[in-house]
Symmetry: C2
Subunit: 232 residues, 2 copies
């Protein structure tokens, strides 16, 4: 194939991923079809399908395109800070594209950038900090699923509308049957789209897993304490 075909130039992996993300962001998960994407890219359907054979391949391309923007952490960063930096960066990338998470569903994401920027260094840091492999992967998965939940199930792109729907539904409830909900609307409504819900939960999971928080005082903030099985 000629190297400078305009069609090929339009169909780089980055451009396919960017355009697919635009479609999802504009029209929701159902807007991402191969036909719509090929049209937007101004390439043929066959040409697009040569690059991503199926929806799973296309989604992998999109998430790994985002994962390429995850930060690289300085080697001497302490475990808790490195962990918080990685996951909050992932959260911010995904919260901008919740439709992508709806399409992902239960399919594992195993793209090269996600593995190289997030999973491998996080596990390596956790092992170096003294966790067993089981502890390291369990802590990773806990923070990962919290991050996907916080990014995928809240409409951070239209917080006013999410808050308004909640306020309307709760204000219509019977105050005798629902005293806690109807009596605290001013606290409840903003929490529906508050990023601190996620950030605080992440910090709680980090403190609970922190292998260096082994003394009782440090453990008081959430660590499960020293583990007799750990070899150090």
């Amino acid at each position: 194939m000629p190297r400078h075909s305009p069609s090929l130039d339009r169909a780089t992996q980055d451009r396919i991923a960017e355009t697919a993300l635009h479609l999802v962001d504009e029209g929701g998960p159902e807007a991402l079809t191969f036909r719509a994407l090929a049209t937007r890219l101004e390439i043929s359907l066959a040409s697009l399908q040569r690059r991503c054979t199926d929806l799973a391949g296309l989604l992998d391309l999109c998430i790994d395109h985002l994962a390429a923007r995850l930060p690289e952490i300085e080697p001497d960063t302490d475990w808790a800070t490195a962990t918080e930096t990685r996951f909050t960066a992932l959260y911010r990338l995904l919260a901008a594209h919740p439709g992508l998470l709806a399409l992902r569903g239960t399919r594992p994401w195993l793209g090269p950038h996600l593995l190289a920027r997030l999973v491998e260094p996080q596990l390596a840091d956790s092992l170096a900090a003294g966790m067993t492999p089981e502890e390291a992967i369990t802590a990773y998965r806990r923070m990962y699923l919290l991050t996907l939940g916080g990014a995928g199930f809240v409409d951070h792109r239209d917080p006013k509308s999410a808050q308004s729907a909640t306020r309307t539904a709760l204000a219509a409830l019977d105050p005798e049957e629902f005293p806690a909900l109807t009596g605290n609307l001013a606290a409840i409504v903003p929490a529906v789209t508050d990023h601190e819900v996620y950030y605080g939960a992440l910090r709680q999971l980090i403190r609970a897993a922190d292998p260096r928080a082994t003394d009782p005082t440090a453990a008081a903030t959430g660590s499960a304490g020293p583990d007799p099985r750990r070899e150090s």
Copy 2:
């Protein structure tokens, strides 16, 4: 309309919800269309649309049908136990229908059973235990988003296949570039579908939020029971 029309009998809210859940469970989120659902229910499309005007209405019906099965907690149950009981029950209900969560996306769920069985009693218990309204709703939202993440982004219905995809992808990595991932497959692969990832994270969030765990020692071990880490 006649009270004993077979068509109406087939189209109770419970039957619509059960049948919609079957469609999603069998064929994934994209299998839930009004046409497919009407056909399966053996009613007309118009008849179905009279009962749920749009997909949002249909999804509300499904989740609230599930939420009706959430447990009612005895009044004198301690805060941590009541909290863990409610959220683990929600997790089990949702983990059986991950496609429902993909369809939900960022749409708030505000059905009567979910509010009456989960949100209202959880907030009321938290306020009674001494939390401020802001603390109560924040703790609730943290556990709620973790629960949706744990149930919606893991294929618990086909764990072998999820583990196999992970094992294949990780085994193909370069051990020099990915030593933590390639060197610990035996620990990593089972964690991909381990329910303890969720249960332990929930207990960590419960301990971190527990208003009664005010002294360091109590907070370290928490009132949620023994150390969440389990021999595996």
